[in-house]
C-alpha cells in the first residue's frame, strides 16, 4: 500500500499532464484548507495549480457530488474507492456522461482518519478509473481496530433510545444531505409541501422521521462512505441508518452499490425468490 504522500505525488503528476494536454478543463481534488489539518475541495484549471493538490488522512469529502456542477464539461476527479462507486451510481442513473469525466482513481485507499465508515470498508480499490494512483490491494480490511458499536447486541428499546439521543440534537441544517452524493433531487422531500412529508419544526418526532425517510432513499444507493457523518456539525451518528441499509442490501439481497456503471438500483429490480424477512407468518 502506498502512503498519502506517494499518492499525492501521483495525483499531481496526472493532474498536471491532463491539464497541460487539455484532456480536461478542470481537476476536482483535495487541497489544504485554512484551518490546521483541515482539507478542502480544490478546483484546478491550470496546470501550475496541480501542485496544490493533496491527498492526506483528512481527505474525507465525497467529491463526486461536485460532478453535478460540471455536467457536460470535461472534468477530472480524484476519487477514493467509495467515490468511484458513487460515480458509477451517477453513471447508471445517467446523471453524468462517462465521456465527460476522467477519473483519477485511488487504488489501495489508505483510509481516512476519524471516518468510522473506513473501518467497515470492503472495497479499497477504485472500481472505475481512467488514471490509477496508488496500487491495488487485495487485503480487505485496514489494520485499524473496528470501532465498538455493536447495535445487534442492543435491545430495540436501547437502539430507540440511542437514536433519540442522536436525533434530538439535529438542527436540520441538512449538511448530511448536502454532503451526500446520493442526494441530488431538484427538490428534497424535506422541502415538499404537497404533501408535507415532513413538518418543518425541528422537533424529535420530525427529526427522527427525517432521518428514517432519508435512510429509505439511501436504500440500495448508499456506498457507506461516511461523508454524512463527518459533515454533521453536531456529531450525530447520521451514518448508522444508511449503513444499516447498506448492510441489509448486501446481506439479504446480495447487492453491492456502484460496482458497475450499468447496475440497476436495488429497488428497481427483484428476484421472484426474494427474501420475505420480517413478513408476518
Amino acid at each position: 500500500m502506498k502512503n498519502y504522500d506517494q499518492i499525492t505525488e501521483e495525483i499531481r503528476k496526472i493532474a498536471k499532464k491532463i491539464l497541460n494536454d487539455k484532456t480536461v478543463d478542470k481537476v476536482i481534488g483535495f487541497g489544504l484548507g485554512t484551518i490546521n489539518q483541515e482539507i478542502t475541495p480544490l478546483f484546478i484549471s491550470k496546470a501550475e495549480g496541480a501542485k496544490k493538490l493533496v491527498f492526506n488522512k483528512n481527505s474525507h469529502m465525497s467529491l463526486a457530488k461536485y460532478l453535478l456542477n460540471y455536467k457536460n464539461e470535461d472534468v477530472a476527479i480524484v476519487a477514493k474507492p467509495c467515490d468511484s462507486r458513487a460515480i458509477n451510481t451517477y453513471l447508471s442513473e445517467k446523471i453524468i456522461n462517462r465521456n465527460d469525466i476522467k477519473v483519477i482513481g485511488i487504488q489501495g485507499c489508505p483510509g481516512i482518519e476519524g471516518n468510522t465508515a473506513c473501518l467497515e470498508c470492503e472495497v479499497r480499490n477504485a472500481v472505475i478509473s481512467d488514471y490509477d494512483v496508488g496500487e491495488k490491494i487485495s487485503k480487505k480490511k485496514t489494520n485499524q481496530l473496528k470501532e465498538e458499536k455493536d447495535f445487534d447486541s442492543l435491545s430495540p428499546e436501547e437502539r430507540f433510545k440511542y437514536f433519540r439521543n442522536e436525533f434530538e440534537r439535529c438542527t436540520r441544517c441538512y449538511a448530511c444531505r448536502e454532503a451526500c452524493y446520493v442526494c441530488y433531487c431538484k427538490e428534497c422531500f424535506t422541502e415538499s409541501n404537497q404533501p408535507e412529508w415532513l413538518n418543518k419544526s425541528v422537533s424529535l418526532n420530525e427529526n427522527f422521521t427525517y432521518h428514517l425517510m432519508r435512510a429509505m432513499h439511501m436504500a440500495g444507493r448508499c456506498v457507506n462512505c461516511g461523508a454524512c457523518e463527518l459533515a454533521c456539525p453536531e456529531g450525530i451518528d447520521v451514518r448508522a441508518l444508511a449503513a444499516k441499509m447498506y448492510n441489509t442490501a448486501t446481506e439479504i439481497f446480495d447487492y453491492k452499490v456502484g460496482m458497475d456503471q450499468k447496475q440497476k438500483t436495488l429497488l428497481a429490480e427483484y428476484d421472484v425468490h426474494d427474501s420475505e424477512k420480517g413478513f408476518m407468518e
Partner: protein, 1024 residues
C-alpha cells in the same frame, strides 16, 4: 348504425372472455349463464398451474369488467331454449328461471340467508358444505344477488315460513316469480358451455361411491381453497382429521378404452401436480403419491412445473398400475398396484384424490344435437382440426372445453378466436341504432368546471337497510360529518344504491353546488362505477366522488362492537372527506390512432391473423422475410387429424393474396419499429434491392414462428438415413419414400425435455403417431417402432395413439438417463435401446431413423423483442402478458402474439390462436379513439432528475426518460395506473392521479387527526 348483437352461451372463463372481446370490438353481447352467477368452473378452483396464481384474484376482475361493460347484457339463471334462423339472422329463445328474487332490488346483503331455516348441500362447494334454501351461488357472486332454491324453499312448496321476505328491507323476495321466456335477435352464437367433471359411475371402480375418503379432484379443489368449506385445511371427509398421506390417481375415467371417455382429458396431470404442490404448501410433512400412466405436461412452462414437483421431497411420481382399492375400519384407503417390474406394491392413504377428466354435459350435448350442431362420439361439438372454432351449423361457433378437453389459456384463446369469427357476422349485419337500447345511452355530458370553486364536499352515508345502520350509529356519524372541514352537506340515506338514492345525490349536487362527493356505503370494487355515474349525471366529473367502505369492512365485521364500529365508520368518512378535498377532475383522454395492422410472419399463423383482420375491413400489412408465404406448413403433410395440409394451405394463400385490404410484403425485413399502440411506424427493407418502405399502423401481431432444433444427436445431419419428422412428411408428401425401406425407427424428445430445453415440444408425439399411421395404412408390412419417453397424445388425439397400436406400431419407452444409442452400420442405422420390461439391451438395424426434433425459438426473437419492447421467456419464446388469462396479449398494449412464436403447438392450435390475436387486435382497431385510463401517472418535470428508475420498474413500458428534455414522460395510452413508478421516484416527480401522495397523506392525516404529536417545543435547546 350499430352492430347486430351476438349471443354467448356460458358464463365461465371462455364465455366471459368471448363476451368481453366482442364488446371491446363494439358489438353488443347477450351473455347467457345457466347458473345464478358468472365464473363457471374456474371460480371453483383454488390456484392455477403452472404459476400457482390465485384463481379468484385473476378471474374476478375479468368477470366484473365483463359484467359492467356497457355493451354486455348478462342473463344468469337462464338457458337457451331454441335457435331459429340462419347465420346473421338468428332468433334465440331464452328462458330465465325464476330466482324468486328481484335482481334490481337485491343488494346481496345476505340477511335472508342468515334467517333461512332450510339447510341443503352446497353445489358450488361440491356438496362438501351446506347452504340455505336461499343462497348466494358463491361469496363473490356476480351479480351479487341471492337466489331461492325452489326445490327446498318452504314458502314455495308449503306456503309457510316467509322468513326471507320478512328479513328483507327492500322487499326483494318474490315467491310468485314465473319463468320468463324472451326472444333475442342475434347475428351469431358462441357456445362456451363448458364441461362436467367425471363423477359417479364413471369413477365408481375407484371406490368413489363406497369410500368417504376417495374424492374427486374438483372436490379437493374446494378443500384447498381458502374460501372453501374448510378454509384451505386438508382433512379426511370421513372424520375431519388431518390428511397427511394422500394418493392422486391420474386418468380416473380418462383414456379408458372400455368407456365412452376414451380420451385424454389434457388437464388432469397438470392439476394433480398443482394440487400436490399446493398440498405441500399447506402441509409441510405431507407424503403424496401420484399414480400415472404418462405425465402429459405438454403446455408452456408445464415441464418445469412438473420437474419442480418431481424435485420436491414428499411428492412421488409412481408409474404403477392400480390393482385394487379398499378401505379399512379406520377408513384408510389401501391401494395395491403393480410397478414397472410387475411387483405388487401396497400403500395406505388418508385420502385418495381421483384426477377426474372433463366431459361435455349431457344437456348441452343434447341441446347441440337439437339445434342441428353436430357432435362427435364423445358428445363434444364436432369441429374441424384446421377450423377449430366453427361448428357444423353456420354462424354458430364454439370455444373452450365444449370442443374437447383443454386448459384455461387454450379456452381463453379459443374464446377470443370465436369472438372475432362471430363478430365478423355482426359486422356484416348492422342494424339501426334505434333498435338497440344499450347503444343509445352513450351520450357524453359536459362536466361543470369546478377547479376555481371553493371545495364543497357532500357526504352521503348509506344505511344499507339495517346492514350498516344496524351496527353503526349512522345519524350521529352523519351529524359529526357535517362538522368536518370542507364538508358542506351530510345526509343519511336508507339505500344509496337505489335509483332514489342516486337521484338524491344528483339533486343535492345541483341544489348545494357540491363539488366533491363522499359516499360511505359498501365496497367500491362493485359500486364505484354506479356512484360515478350518479355523480356524472349531475354534471360533475365522476372522479370527484370518493367511496369509503363502511359495510363490508366495518358493520359486517364488527357486529358486536357497535360503538367501535361507529367510531371506525366516522374515521373512514373523515379520511375519505380529507382525500376528497385534494382530488382533481380527471378525464379519459381520447387518443387518435391509425386503423392499420401489422402482422409479422407469413406462416399459417400470420396469414390467418392477417386475413381475419382484413376481412373485418381493416388495412393489414403482412410481412414475411422469405420469398414465399406458408412457413413451416409448406413442409407439412398432415394436420393432427390426419388430413392433408396442402389443400388448406393453398386455399389460405389464395385468400390472402386476393384480399383487397391485405398487402403482403414477402422477402422484406424490418429495418426499424417506432411508436406505441395506435401509432406504430415500421420501416421495411426489401431483401432484393434494399428499397425501403415506411408504413403506419395501430397494432402489431407477432407470428414469427419457430424452428427445428439443430443438433448432432443420433447422427442427425450426418447420415442421409437420419431425418426429422418434418423431413419425413416432406418425403411422404412427394411420395419419395424409398421402396427399399422396410423398417423405420422414430425417436421422440430429441432435444426436448432435457437440460437447456426444459419444455415439451408438444406436437411431436401426435405427429409421429400420425405419420406412422399414414405409412402403416399404405405399407402394412413396414416395421415401425417409436422410441418414446412419454406418449403425449393429449385430448382427442388419444384416439390416434390407440389406432397406431392397433395397426401394429411398436411403442417402446426409454428413460432420459438411458437414451437409445445410434451407430452407422453400412446402409443401415443401428439402434440400441433397453427393453423397458425385460430390461434387456436390444440392438436392431433400421432403414430410416426419424427424429422428433425439438421446436426452438427463432434467433431473431431477441431483436424483435427489443424493438417492440416485449419480453421473452427463458427459452427465448415470446412471453405473453399472463400465461393463464392473457395468452395472446403482451403487457405492452397493441402488440399481440400467436403461433409457434408463443411456444410449441400444432397447426390447428395456431389457427385458433391467430384468430384470437386478430380478435384482440380488432378490439383496438374497431374503436373510434383510444381511451386512456383516467388514473394514470403524471410527471412533474420540474422535479424529475431523469435517473430512469421509473423506466426500469414499469411493466407496461409506459414511462420513459426523454434525455433531450431531461425528464421522464408518461405515455398515457400505455399506463395502467399501478403506481409502481410513483413509489420508486425519490424526487416525488411522478404522481398517480387518484392516489397522489397528497391524497394519501391527507387521508392518513385525517384518520389519525385525533393524535397530535408534541411538536410544540423548544428553542432548539434540549437538556438531557
Amino acid at each position: 348504425m350499430a352492430k347486430k348483437p351476438v349471443m354467448v352461451l356460458g358464463g365461465g372463463i371462455a364465455g366471459v372472455q368471448a363476451a368481453t372481446d366482442l364488446a371491446e370490438m363494439g358489438i353488443p353481447v347477450y351473455l347467457i349463464e345457466k347458473s345464478p352467477a358468472l365464473g363457471g368452473k374456474m371460480a371453483q378452483l383454488d390456484k392455477t398451474f403452472p404459476t400457482n396464481d390465485c384463481s379468484t384474484c385473476i378471474l374476478a376482475p375479468k368477470i366484473s369488467d365483463c359484467y359492467n361493460h356497457e355493451l354486455v347484457t348478462t342473463y344468469t339463471y337462464t338457458e337457451l331454449e331454441n335457435l331459429k334462423g340462419i347465420s346473421g339472422n338468428f332468433t334465440a329463445t331464452i328462458k330465465q328461471k325464476p330466482r324468486y328474487v328481484d335482481v334490481d332490488l337485491c343488494t346481496g346483503c345476505a340477511e335472508c340467508i342468515e334467517n333461512c331455516p332450510v339447510k341443503v348441500d352446497d353445489g358450488f362447494n361440491q356438496g362438501i358444505d351446506i347452504r340455505k334454501a336461499v343462497f348466494k351461488y358463491q361469496e363473490q357472486a356476480v351479480p351479487n344477488v341471492v337466489t331461492i332454491d325452489a326445490k327446498h324453499c318452504l314458502m314455495i312448496n308449503k306456503g309457510v315460513c316467509g322468513l326471507c321476505l320478512k328479513n328483507c328491507d327492500k322487499d326483494a323476495i318474490n315467491y310468485d316469480q314465473k319463468p320468463k321466456t324472451e326472444d333475442l335477435e342475434v347475428a351469431s352464437v358462441i357456445f362456451a358451455a363448458g364441461y362436467d367433471a367425471f363423477e359417479g359411475n364413471i369413477v365408481s371402480e375407484y371406490g368413489y361411491l363406497n369410500y368417504d375418503n376417495v374424492i374427486t379432484s374438483l372436490e379437493y379443489e374446494r378443500y384447498l381453497s381458502a374460501s372453501g368449506p374448510t378454509g384451505g385445511h386438508v382433512v379426511r371427509p370421513s372424520d375431519g382429521k388431518d390428511a397427511k398421506k394422500i394418493a392422486f390417481l391420474h386418468c380416473a375415467g380418462s383414456r379408458d378404452i372400455r368407456s365412452d371417455t376414451n380420451y385424454c382429458s389434457s388437464v388432469c396431470c397438470m392439476y394433480s401436480i398443482k394440487q400436490s404442490i399446493i398440498t405441500k404448501e399447506h402441509i409441510k410433512d405431507a407424503n403424496l403419491d401420484l399414480y400415472y400412466m404418462d405425465i402429459r405436461s405438454f403446455g408452456k412452462g408445464f415441464e418445469r412445473y412438473y420437474n419442480m414437483a418431481d424435485d420436491t421431497e414428499g411428492i412421488n411420481f409412481k408409474r404403477n398400475r392400480i390393482a385394487s382399492i379398499e378401505d379399512d375400519e379406520d377408513n384408510r384407503i389401501l391401494i395395491k398396484s403393480l410397478d414397472d417390474d410387475d411387483n405388487i406394491i401396497s400403500d395406505q392413504y388418508d385420502l385418495v384424490i381421483l384426477a377426474v377428466g372433463l366431459k361435455p354435459s349431457k344437456e348441452v350435448s343434447e341441446m347441440m344435437k337439437r339445434l342441428k350442431i353436430r357432435v362427435n362420439k364423445f358428445g363434444f361439438a364436432d369441429v374441424e382440426e384446421l377450423n377449430p372454432l366453427k361448428t357444423s351449423r353456420d354462424g354458430v361457433y364454439a370455444c373452450g372445453v365444449i370442443t374437447g378437453p383443454k386448459d384455461i389459456p387454450e379456452s381463453v384463446i379459443q374464446a377470443s378466436g370465436a369472438a372475432v369469427m362471430a363478430g365478423e357476422k355482426a359486422y356484416q349485419n348492422e342494424i339501426d341504432d334505434s333498435e338497440l337500447e344499450i347503444v343509445n345511452n352513450k351520450e357524453k355530458k359536459e362536466y361543470r368546471f369546478v377547479e376555481n370553486e371553493r371545495v364543497k364536499t357532500g357526504v352521503f352515508v348509506c344505511d344499507c337497510g339495517t346492514n350498516i345502520a344496524g351496527v353503526v350509529d349512522v345519524p350521529s356519524v352523519t351529524e359529526r360529518a357535517k362538522e368536518l372541514p370542507f364538508v358542506e352537506h351530510a345526509e343519511e340515506v336508507k339505500y344509496l344504491c337505489s335509483s332514489d338514492g342516486q337521484e338524491l345525490i344528483s339533486k343535492r349536487i345541483e341544489e348545494k353546488g357540491l363539488n366533491r362527493i363522499v359516499v360511505a356505503s359498501c365496497t367500491p370494487r362493485t359500486h364505484e362505477p354506479l356512484f360515478r355515474k350518479a355523480v356524472e349525471r349531475a354534471g360533475l366529473n365522476p372522479y370527484l366522488m370518493i367511496m369509503t367502505n363502511i359495510r363490508d369492512q366495518d358493520s359486517w365485521v364488527h357486529r358486536e362492537e357497535k360503538e367501535k364500529a361507529t367510531e371506525k365508520a366516522f374515521d373512514l368518512i373523515k379520511g375519505a372527506a380529507a382525500k376528497a378535498k385534494s382530488v382533481k377532475t380527471l378525464n379519459r383522454e381520447k387518443i387518435e390512432k391509425i386503423d392499420n395492422a401489422f402482422v409479422i410472419g407469413g406462416g399459417v399463423s400470420g396469414m390467418t391473423s392477417a386475413l381475419q383482420i382484413a376481412e373485418l375491413g381493416f388495412k393489414t400489412y403482412l410481412i414475411e422475410k422469405e420469398k414465399i408465404l406458408g412457413g413451416k406448413a409448406n413442409q407439412l403433410l398432415l394436420s393432427m387429424d390426419g388430413k392433408p395440409v396442402k389443400n388448406y394451405l393453398d386455399d389460405l394463400k389464395q385468400k390472402v393474396e386476393s384480399n383487397p385490404n391485405l398487402t403482403v410484403y414477402t422477402d422484406h425485413s424490418i429495418e426499424s419499429i417506432e411508436g406505441y399502440v395506435g401509432n406504430y411506424k415500421f420501416k421495411l427493407k426489401s431483401n432484393q434491392n434494399d428499397e425501403t418502405t415506411e408504413l403506419e399502423g395501430g397494432v402489431v401481431i407477432v407470428a414469427t414462428g419457430a424452428k427445428e432444433l439443430i443438433t448432432d444427436q443420433y447422427l442427425a445431419d450426418q447420415n442421409k438415413n437420419v431425418i426429422s419428422q418434418l423431413d419425413l412428411e416432406e418425403k411422404l408428401k412427394e411420395n419419395k419414400l424409398d421402396q427399399s425401406i422396410k423398417d423405420i425407427t422414430m425417436i421422440q424428445c430429441v432435444g426436448s425435455r432435457e437440460e437447456g430445453r426444459e419444455y415439451c415440444s408438444r406436437l411431436c408425439c401426435t405427429q409421429a403417431v400420425n405419420n406412422a399411421i399414414f405409412i402403416k395404412e399404405r405399407y402394412p408390412d413396414l416395421n415401425i417402432r417409436i422410441l418414446y419417453r412419454e406418449i403425449r397424445t393429449y385430448g382427442l388425439y388419444e384416439d390416434k395413439y390407440r389406432k397406431a397400436r392397433e395397426l401394429g406400431v411398436d411403442f417402446i419407452r426409454y428413460e432420459v438417463e438411458d437414451k437409445p444409442k445410434v451407430t452407422e452400420n453400412g446402409n443401415k442405422i443401428s439402434v440400441q435401446y433397453t427393453e423397458p420390461i425385460t430390461k434387456k439391451h436390444i440392438k436392431t438395424d433400421t432403414d430410416l431413423l426419424v427424429l422428433a426434433k425439438a421446436i426452438t425459438a427463432q434467433d431473431s426473437n431477441q431483436t424483435l423483442s427489443k424493438a417492440l419492447k416485449v419480453p421473452l421467456n427463458e427459452d427465448k419464446f415470446f412471453l405473453e402478458a399472463h400465461v393463464k388469462l392473457r395468452p395472446v396479449d403482451f403487457a405492452t398494449d397493441g402488440v399481440f402474439l400467436t403461433g409457434l412464436a408463443h411456444g410449441p403447438k400444432n397447426l390447428g392450435e395456431s389457427v385458433a390462436q391467430s384468430r384470437a390475436a386478430a380478435s384482440r387486435a380488432a378490439a383496438v382497431l374497431s374503436k373510434e379513439f383510444l381511451l386512456t385510463e383516467a388514473m394514470v401517472s403524471t410527471v412533474n418535470s420540474n422535479l424529475c432528475s431523469a435517473c430512469g428508475t421509473c423506466e426500469d420498474v414499469c411493466a407496461f413500458k409506459a414511462i420513459e426518460v426523454n434525455y433531450d428534455k431531461q425528464t421522464a414522460e408518461v405515455n398515457t395510452v400505455l399506463c395502467k395506473g399501478c403506481g409502481n413508478c410513483v413509489s420508486v421516484c425519490r424526487s416525488h416527480a411522478v404522481e398517480l392521479e387518484g392516489f397522489t401522495n397528497q391524497q394519501i397523506v391527507d387521508e392518513l392525516s385525517a384518520l389519525f387527526s385525533d393524535r397530535k404529536s408534541n411538536n410544540q417545543k423548544v428553542g432548539g435547546i434540549i437538556n438531557e
